[in-house]
Amino acid sequence: MSVHSNPVVSVRGLSKSFVGKTVVSGVTFDLFAGEALALVGENGAGKSTTKNMLCGLLTPTTGTILVNGQTVPKVIGAEHGISAVHQELSLFGSLSVAENICISDLPGAKMRVDWAAAERIAQEQIAFLGIEIDARALVETLGAGKQQIVEIAKALLHASKVLILDEPTTSLTAVEREKLFVIIDKLKARGLAIVFISHFMEEIYRVCDSFVALRDGCQVGQGRLAEVSQRSLEEMMVGRTLEDARVNLAAPSQTPALEVRGLSSSDFKDINLTVHRGEILGIAGLMGAGRTEIAEAIFGLRAAVGEVRIDGKAVPRDVSAMMASGLCYVTEDRRKNGLFLNRPVRENLSAAHIAGFVQRKLRGFGFRGEKARAHDLVSDMNISVPHIENNVSDLSGGNQQKVMLGRWLATNPEILIFDEPTKGVDIGAKFDIHEKIAALAATGKAIIIVSSDLPELLHITHRMLVMRKGRIVGEFLRSDFDSVKIISLAASSNEGGQDAA
């Protein structure tokens, strides 16, 4: 790599252990100004842990980090110009965009904050990113895409040398992703070194110049992306040869399992949809199109008017009634309303149906068999966990997602609504999850998948609905799937839309 000048940051033999378990060991790489490095690996490989050491959130057990060729005893993000956008967003919803961006270093003299200056700084950062957001808006009023931009603007304020992005695209749709990539190109041109973590190979090739591959915490490869094929990179990560990812979808039946009639609320209007036994129905749309809101309303988590019928019978929209009728809903926001972060993995797995999870002689009493069942689920879902008694917050992002899926699959539901089911999971696990979903459909379960990942929907669904601004604006059968049409339908601004294709 003689073309390079000196690295801005170098990492030598970085290792980290938690209570005796080594999760990262001997990671070594260099970061150069104007270049993007991809950190790739399966769920739990140690990518986020490496990121946390690089930006000073975790102290390495052994190894050194050099900034401009100088060994630093401990990285201080703000001082060394290294900053990160974390896998899980860390914004304050009830504060303004400006407050969030400037939070760690509010401008002003002594005790007085200069709010005008804060707004100016924030607006400059956002303007540089080329997105329109009002610095005075409250963060909770923004969609996930814009929140992600705010998060980046906040990190940029201190990233004079290195910006680390940990799975920044998991909640973005294709259009929003492309916008983000243009921003990253700009940052590279500005002379920043980028570290990019993602499970999407296309993104890695789009954004990055070089890569470091981790497997079980060890560095198993590194080099220039131009010199390695996607296939061999993937095989490096998983440590075996991969078969082609093809799922076989069985033909669905004609028996309706779930029927939604005239469902309306302030977020969506007049929703009518039907899923049949054995069918996988996809719902596509941009962020904020109202897809999650519909799913939550069907499950009884949100106020709405309209009727929901299961197996032809009207069911009151109430979570317990829906669950009793065999419906389940897997949330997209696992940290906010999915996981019990300070409780063990075991309790997180059994939470949705405790009585069915354990063996009991007395109603409501005893947890016999809970551990064994949790162990079964962990191996069945291939969850990488230090121990089932560890808090679920100790798991890597992708493994937390698998815990969510495992919890609901354990309830033996008849109808499953998945909201972003593969958010943050690696390619191998995604393949496994898709196979599981296809297998569930083959046994006659009805399935709805809401996803921002269009290739996923194209791959795994029989039929797709497209939503825009709270309305269903199109329907496609698998035989007529056309990603260009679907994207333009979801994004187009003319009201009214087309009828079923």
Binding site: G338, F340, N342, E347, I354, G364, P386, I388, R407
Partner: protein, 313 residues
């Protein structure tokens, strides 16, 4: 991980209890005598019972500021009932019923009307205190049945009966929290109320039940206070609130919910009990005691944080 470390992570307050017990045994020959231990256990039965109720509320992510004066109100009303009828059984039933009543009030307002626990139970605290003083005209209720006066000195299996009762409550609550669906749901609601709702747990009912539970324990504690003091005193709970909350937090149950256990609270109560008793025994004047207690509590919480509140395997 070594056994002892696991034990310390589960019960971070254990070190302090052991250190204090050893320290005072060395400083005072009377500390470890059976008479002194009995006195300590008996004197803290009321706090122990109430702290169990508070723990469950904390675990669910709430707080019950009314438990202290619910103790007073149920003591007074129970005392009046016993004075009027002479029936101890009726007195016990009345005490529990009064506790349940206040608990239900809190539970309905917080669980179903979604009022803030802090303000709601603060208001209930005022009401219960008012009730206790109005009904007793501000003085100790006279006419406690003799059986009840004796009961404070009765021993079962060689330990004071009131202690046996408080330990039974500790045991039952421990089993309820660790072995029943209800206990698990309380923990999950405390850990993440949104996730609990999304998992199909009926959060309003769980919340209601938790305040009902602490109300009932407040009632029982009030009844026990009559046995301990010989009379139903309208101000009996007034100074207890901070001791109860302090014991729970010192034991290592967090106020944020989903983190802690009944067992930890037993240790928290033990810390405060040993401190007061030990400092008295070695003849430290009352106000000096306060300073020493404060400093020791600093050290205690620091150690508890050091050993971590996390239950790693």
């Amino acid at each position: 991980m070594p056994r002892i470390l696991t034990l310390l992570k589960t019960y971070p307050a254990l070190v302090i209890v052991v250190a204090l017990a050893i320290g005072f045994s060395v400083l005072s020959p009377h500390f470890a005598s059976s008479g002194n231990i009995e006195a300590m256990l008996g004197a803290n039965a009321v706090v122990m019972i109430a702290a169990v109720g508070m723990t469950v509320v904390f675990l669910a992510g709430g707080i019950d500021l009314s438990i202290s004066t619910v103790i007073s109100a149920s003591a007074v009303i129970s005392g009046l009932a016993m004075a009027a009828t002479g029936s101890v059984a009726l007195g016990a039933a009345v005490a529990v019923a009064v506790g349940l009543g206040f608990g239900a009030l809190n539970g309905v307002l917080i669980g179903f009307f979604q009022l803030t626990p802090f303000i709601t139970t603060m208001a209930t605290q005022l009401i219960a205190r008012g009730v206790a003083f109005v009904m007793s005209a501000g003085i100790a209720v006279k006419g406690t049945p003799f059986w009840m006066l004796d009961f404070g000195f009765v021993q079962w299996f060689g330990i004071p009966a009131v202690t046996v009762i408080s330990l039974m409550i500790v045991g039952l609550a421990g089993v309820a929290m660790t072995q029943t669906t209800w206990g698990r749901q309380v923990m999950l609601v405390g850990s993440n109320v949104d996730a609990a709702r999304f998992s199909g747990i009926h959060v309003p009912w769980v919340t209601f039940s938790v305040y009902l539970f602490s109300g009932a324990l407040g009632g029982i504690a009030g009844f026990i206070s009559i046995a301990n003091l010989g009379n139903a005193i309208p101000g009996v709970g007034d100074t207890l609130l901070l001791i109860i909350i302090g014991a729970v937090v010192l034991g290592g149950t967090g106020m944020a919910g989903g983190e802690g256990s009944i067992g930890r609270t037993v240790l928290g109560v033990a810390i405060l009990a040993i401190l007061t008793n030990g400092l008295n025994l070695i003849g430290i004047p009352f106000y000096d005691q306060l300073i020493i207690q404060g400093v020791l509590i600093f050290i205690g919480t620091w150690m508890a944080t050091r050993f971590g509140n996390r239950r790693d395997a």
